[in-house]
């Protein structure tokens, strides 16, 4: 795979001199400085525990303890760690390589924690190839070879291999098949990579072999799609996953979309996640109603499927309206409940339902000034929280953008002693120094009040700095950026 990646990078590097070709290269570098502080489990003999004036049991150094038998246990603050993850990513597309229909795509990133302390999550391995493939598109056929991702009802699957797609464009039909060595879910390394196994879980010794296919039909009125996917552990020649998924998006009316689908786990013989959404969208209103079933998927090289995870069902709705020419209001709510877990828990009560709710507004105060605010609250079996956030984005000209923001959060503390309050506030600035060159800097202050009466109320407040440089060069195509992925972005 390293050779393939090297070849692709070489191709990208040679993109400039090749005649009559198109290319697009984006290089982006980001750096963040931050601190984090964990906890350490500790214990003290029952005889060493002292009693507070209020009757609480605490360790000699003031940590609240829970005693089981002759020992009392507690958590103390771990060492404060500093991190400075620096990530440089390169994304490129090259076409017009002299063979009609041939193109190369790639996306890679190099990550390094320049603080030199504990390796920050996401910085291992230091060089990651997210995508890198050669594509040949001719007539009805598109073939790809290399590292690629397939997405759909069954989620993201990355693999190193080949994929072929046949299209009958006039009929709106498309069929695709792929096979290769799979990557870990949500990562660019295989499951048997040490980077994907920090705690020493059970893992296959060899890379899994993935294969699958899709069939889709598209028209102006509807999209239908079926997917099949399986993974095999070649060492034992047994299935680790086999699923099918179905999805559809219907557009019966101009502004109405009904989309949904579901998956079935052939390996377990169980239904997986499913959802359905009805959406009505105009230039001034967006109304969505949806229902969802979620059941986690575990491959069979783990033991977790045997623990019978249960699904939850939720119903949700959201409305966003451009109430006035400059004001947008939005509200969203969701309620969910788990299926019966059929677990006897006479000594501990666990909630089996929850809800979440949010509302917000965007105010276009001036053409160059956008104010935004949101409030949210949620309560579920795991935890609960409520808080608000606000931001002001000022764009005095086409090249400069300034953003200030603040947010507040109340939530139960990790160990459920009391509510903690967190404040974030900061500012970002971005400047397009020249065409294709973007510079950014940001500072964020994080203040937390853990609101504990004991020694566990450690201070985790800190200031974070971010720096960003993005450089895009191209042959002319795609010089227009995507609209920002923000609700406030103008069409």
């Amino acid at each position: 795979m390293k050779r393939v990646a090297a070849a692709l990078l070489l191709l990208a590097a040679a993109a400039g001199p090749l005649a009559a070709q198109g290319y697009r290269v984006r290089v982006e570098s980001r750096l963040q400085t931050l601190a984090f502080r964990g906890v350490e489990s500790d214990s003290v003999a029952l005889g060493d525990v002292v009693t507070d004036p209020d009757g609480s049991l605490v360790s000699p150094d003031g940590h609240a303890v829970r005693c089981v038998g002759a020992w009392c246990y507690f958590w103390r603050a771990g060492p404060e760690e500093s991190a400075a993850p620096w990530v440089t990513s390169a994304d490129f597309s090259v076409w017009g390589l002299g063979v009609d229909g041939l193109s190369v795509r790639g996306s890679a990133q190099a990550a390094l924690d320049v603080a030199g302390g504990a390796s920050y999550a996401g910085t291992e391995p230091p060089v990651q190839l997210l995508e890198g493939y050669l594509e040949y598109a001719r007539g009805a056929l598109t073939a790809r070879a290399g590292r690629q991702l397939v997405t759909g009802r069954l989620g993201y699957l990355g693999f190193d291999g080949g994929r072929a797609t046949l299209r009958a464009a006039s009929l709106g039909l498309e069929a695709s098949g792929y096979a290769g060595w799979s990557l870990a879910r949500g990562a660019s390394v295989p499951w048997n990579s040490p980077a994907a196994n920090p705690l020493g879980e059970f893992r296959p010794d060899q890379r899994l072999v993935a294969a699958g296919g899709t069939a889709a039909w598209r028209s102006r009125w509807a999209d239908l799609r079926a997917e099949y996917q399986r993974e095999v552990d070649p060492e034992v020649d047994k299935l680790t996953a086999e699923r099918v998924g179905m999805g559809a998006a219907l557009r019966p009316l101009a502004r109405v979309t009904l989309s949904g689908g579901g998956e079935y786990n052939l390996a377990e013989g169980t239904w997986g996640s499913a959802d359905a959404t009805l959406r009505y969208a105009t230039r001034t209103m967006d109304v969505t109603l949806g229902g969802k079933r979620y059941r986690p998927f575990f491959p069979l090289w783990t033991i977790w499927a045997a623990f019978s995870p249960v699904a939850y069902h939720s119903g949700w709705g959201s409305v966003e309206v451009a109430a006035l020419r400059r004001v947008r209001l939005r509200v969203r709510g969701e309620a969910y409940a788990y299926e019966d877990a059929e677990a006897e828990t006479p000594l501990a009560s666990v909630e089996d339902d929850g809800w979440r709710f949010s509302w917000g507004a965007t105010f276009l105060a001036r053409p160059d000034l956008t104010l935004d605010g949101d409030y949210h609250a949620e309560k579920g079996p795991g935890a609960a929280s409520r808080g608000w956030s606000a931001s002001a984005a000022w764009r005095p000209n086409d090249r400069l953008g300034l953003t200030g923001y603040a947010s507040n959060l109340l939530r139960p503390l990790e160990y459920r002693a009391d509510e903690a309050e967190a404040w974030w506030f900061g500012a970002d600035a971005s400047w397009e120094a020249s065409a294709g060159l973007l510079l950014g800097v940001g500072v964020t202050r994080y203040d937390e009040n853990r609101d504990r009466p004991d020694a566990g109320a450690v201070d985790w407040s800190q200031t974070r700095l971010t720096f960003r440089v993005a450089w895009t060069l191209d042959s002319g195509a795609d010089r227009w950026r995507l609209p920002p992925a923000s609700a406030g972005g103008a069409p």
Binding site: N197, P198, K238, I303, F307, Y312, E342, A348, S407
Partner: protein, 493 residues
């Protein structure tokens, strides 16, 4: 007699004037520097000074400077400095004085005064009030009874040679060409000029070639190399003094254009090829360069093509950032027409160097964010109930476990009091919570933690299987999973 002469004398006069003056340089010399009226009594005929005009002899078409000095010697008259032009002035006329002179002389025997004045002197003015002949005089003889710019396109070539052949015609004169009325017809700039430009033999209409050359057409036409009419034109960069700009056809304003333009392309690719290069497609279809294949790649000899800008389709209005997940899962092919998967990864794959991620920032700032502010501090609830599928973006091991381990949130050694203390007797009653959100459990716990109690051979034998468990099916699919707890003795139910 006079009546017979009329058709020919003006023609000869016009010819003289155009030959002398159409190119501009000579005309300006004659009109600006030599006052014919003032000399009316000195010269009885035109040929006395312009003897070579009718014969086509440029060397004798103007008097020698010495002849002026016979009077302008400083004694009789003040001295003057005048020199004849060194070369003929440029023009684009399909005209030569000798032919016209012979015709006039043969047909009428008219003298030069009458012949020249017919075109160069307006009716009622003195005979030496010489001016450049106007096209109207030509039209009168050639029986074109309209004004110059109103003349039919078919008449252009009657008097004019193609621009590319009029190599001596100055750029300033080309710039001053009158725009024919036909060019002002609605739609002429779009599909109105194509058919008229095609000659019957497949070449280009002579009327187009009169004012235009290939470079002018290539200003817009991406398909210039494939268009015979354009290729039939001569090459002449001077044609670029006339400016042209692309305009979008009416169909491009349709509300559903974004959704239907692929169908249009399949139905009639040549229409798109006229104005669009492949770059037009790739501005949006960055991940599918293959869709641009019906169009021509940008290159020499082609127009730059119409610029296209990405814009949100109607479906992306307002709340789409929050609402795109379901349609993207159900019909990812629709998204892939404009979006690369790596674009999704901008938000859907964590970047450890990302700072505050919730405020999207101004357009183009590149600020990105999926989670709301302070999400890190409130993620337990969202993760427990899987507000979205965390594992699609965050590898449960590489991301969740790594971070939890660094934060000390990792089970190690015997399972005793600790993290779950807020729930009395959580350990003995954790089954429901575990089945509800096993993914949350596995962000801190590994299999060995659970096998301490749940292993059939090395633990306490607590059965973990719950609703929907199909022992036989799982054993058949992958017995290795079963052996983790049961060893080699795998029960069938």
């Amino acid at each position: 007699m006079t009546a017979r002469l009329r058709p020919t004398l003006p023609a000869l006069g016009a010819a003289l004037a155009l030959a002398l003056g159409a190119g501009g340089v000579l005309a300006r010399i004659v009109e600006d520097r030599f006052d014919h009226v003032k000399h009316a009594k000195v010269f009885p005929t035109c040929e006395g000074c312009h003897a070579g005009v009718a014969a086509g002899d440029f060397a004798t078409s103007f008097p020698a400077p010495e002849s002026c000095a016979t009077c302008h010697d400083g004694a009789i008259e003040d001295r003057v400095t005048w020199a004849p032009p060194s070369r003929p002035g440029g023009n684009n006329l399909r005209f030569a004085h000798p032919e016209h002179a012979l015709e006039v002389a043969g047909a009428s025997g008219a003298d030069s005064v009458l012949a020249c004045a017919s075109c160069h002197v307006r009716e009622g003015e003195a005979w030496m009030a010489v001016r450049r002949a106007s096209a109207r005089r030509c039209f009168a003889c050639h029986e074109i009874m309209v004004a110059h710019r109103e003349a039919p396109d078919s008449a252009c070539a009657q008097c004019h040679v193609p621009l590319a052949q009029a190599t001596a015609l100055p750029v300033d004169r080309i710039r001053e060409f009158e725009t024919p009325l036909s060019h002002e017809q609605p739609g002429f700039g779009l599909d109105g000029h194509g058919k008229p430009a095609q000659a019957a033999d497949g070449g280009v209409a002579a009327s187009c070639a009169t004012c235009h050359a290939r470079e002018f057409c290539t200003t817009c036409h991406v398909n210039a190399p494939e268009t015979r009419a354009i290729q039939a034109l001569g090459a002449d960069p001077r044609s670029l003094v006339h400016e042209a700009s692309l305009e979008a056809p009416p169909g491009h304003d349709r509300a559903d254009f974004l959704e239907t333009h692929a169908r249009d392309l399949r139905a009639n690719a040549s229409a798109c090829q006229t104005c669009h290069t492949r770059e037009s497609c790739l501005a949006c279809h960055v991940g599918q360069p293959g869709v641009a294949r019906p169009l021509f790649a940008a290159g020499p000899g082609r127009g730059a093509g119409a610029g296209t800008a990405r814009r949100r389709p109607p479906s992306h209005a307002l709340d789409f950032t929050r609402a795109h997940a379901e349609p993207a899962r159900s019909a990812p092919g629709t998204c892939a027409t404009c979006h690369l998967i790596t674009t999704c990864l901008d938000c859907h794959r964590p970047n450890p160097a990302d700072g505050q991620t919730a405020v999207s920032g101004p357009r183009g700032s590149g600020a990105r964010g999926y989670h709301p502010p302070a999400f890190l501090t409130r993620h337990p609830a969202a993760a427990y109930a899987q507000e979205t599928e965390c594992a699609d973006c965050h590898n449960p091991a590489a991301f969740c476990q790594t971070c939890h381990a660094q934060a000390g949130l990792r089970a190690s050694g015997p399972l005793v009091a600790g993290f779950h203390d807020s729930k009395e007797f959580f350990l003995t009653g954790h089954g429901q919570a575990a089945r509800q959100s096993l993914e949350s459990c596995t962000s801190c716990h590994v299999e060995q933690d659970c096998l301490t109690c749940h292993s059939a051979v090395a633990g306490r034998g607590f059965r973990p299987h719950g609703p929907g468990f199909d022992a036989e099916r799982l054993r058949r699919k992958n017995p290795n999973m079963c052996t983790a707890c049961h060893g080699t003795t795998i029960p069938t139910n």
